[in-house]
Symmetry: C2
Subunit: 196 residues, 2 copies
DNA sequence: ACCTGAACACCGTTCAAGT
DNA sequence: ACCTGAACACCGTTCAAGT
């Protein structure tokens, strides 16, 4: 029984929520249809987002923040040892990537776009701070070869990213089988990275 | 000095070439604009492609055929030994993926779409026949652990796919540095896969 | 401050009609 | 067989105007 003036009130939040839902359902996002569904004129979103891209960027930024929280939570729940923490990171990343496929694509597309906002870039960096630190830790613990941490992390991350994109494009099934493949990949990488 | 009737003649081929060029330039593909550029009415493409998706699928199919040729050529040029051939495959795949980023995305999107044509699916399978055979060969030669070849190839392919997507999203630079990272990744994978 | 309604320049797709 | 031109139902974006 909230009272309603002719203005909507929390339109910004509803636009974001609606857009993400459409995205998750695999549909193309039309601002006009979004406005229609929320019950507002097609020009109303303009007050909150300069254009469609601005709305997508806001969605992407929020996505990076959630991804960061997911990764940190998974790593923390895995205990203190490097290898289990790496495994948890891998699983959490692939889980996010498959559960929010369209959003993840949006996140990276937005991050890289020439005119991308700084807030988006820093949100992306923050999401990967803890995993990068974990790789450095694994090097310090002698579980992974020494050297440029970022370069080593890149190959591992690429593998996860690739597995996720293969699931999302149907080459690989999700679920329990995927979990095994991720575990395979992480162990394979850790083994390959172990100092010899 | 080719004579021209009011009909264009080889419109189908010109549509495909024009579409790929637009795609390569990173522009959004509009059928109307494409028709305009070729100098034909906006409804003319309809004679050759049922809808926009059909044109994209044709492009994707051609892409898989070219990718297959690239992969086979690179592997053949690398000699007889498994590891150099795996390395050549990796480099050729990443090269294609970075040189034809938008096309590759189209290829996989098309391949997975529920209503995808069989010709598209088989073209995709054919492109990866030789690399899959190479993995089986590497297993036979004792360079890679025995077991489900496809499952092992998946991790390797995921890594390449991931590296390519990171280059395409700007996280990783192309060029000589990329070649090193690919070599790193392949060796790391081969090492991780080597029977112990 | 926040939203509306009309307008503009685009889309993809359809279909009768032309040659 | 191959293409045209008008039409339809959509877009995203802009802007004067309303409350």
């Amino acid at each position: 029984m909230a009272t309603r003036t002719y203005h909507h009130g929390n339109l910004r939040a509803e636009l974001l929520a609606g857009a993400e839902q459409t995205l998750a359902e695999g549909g193309d996002l039309s601002l006009r249809e979004l406005a229609r569904r929320i019950g507002v004129s097609h020009a109303a979103p303009r007050r909150h987002f300069a254009d469609k891209q601005a709305l997508l960027d806001a969605l992407a930024e929020d996505g990076f923040e959630r991804l960061g929280r997911d990764l940190r939570a998974a790593m923390d729940a895995a205990g203190e040892q490097c290898v289990p923490r790496l495994l948890a990171f891998g699983r959490a990343y692939v889980a996010f990537a498959t559960r929010h496929a369209a959003l993840l694509e949006l996140m990276f597309a937005g991050k890289h776009r020439p005119g991308a906002a700084d807030s988006l870039r820093t949100a992306a960096d923050r999401a990967f701070e803890a995993p990068l630190a974990l790789f450095a830790e694994a090097q310090a613990a002698g579980e992974v070869v020494p050297g440029d941490t970022e370069r080593i992390a890149i190959v591992a991350w690429a593998t996860l990213q690739g597995l996720a994109s293969m699931v999302n494009s149907g080459m690989l099934e999700g679920g329990a089988a995927l979990d095994d493949v991720v575990a395979d990949a992480v162990h394979q990488l850790v083994l390959g990275l172990r100092p010899r």
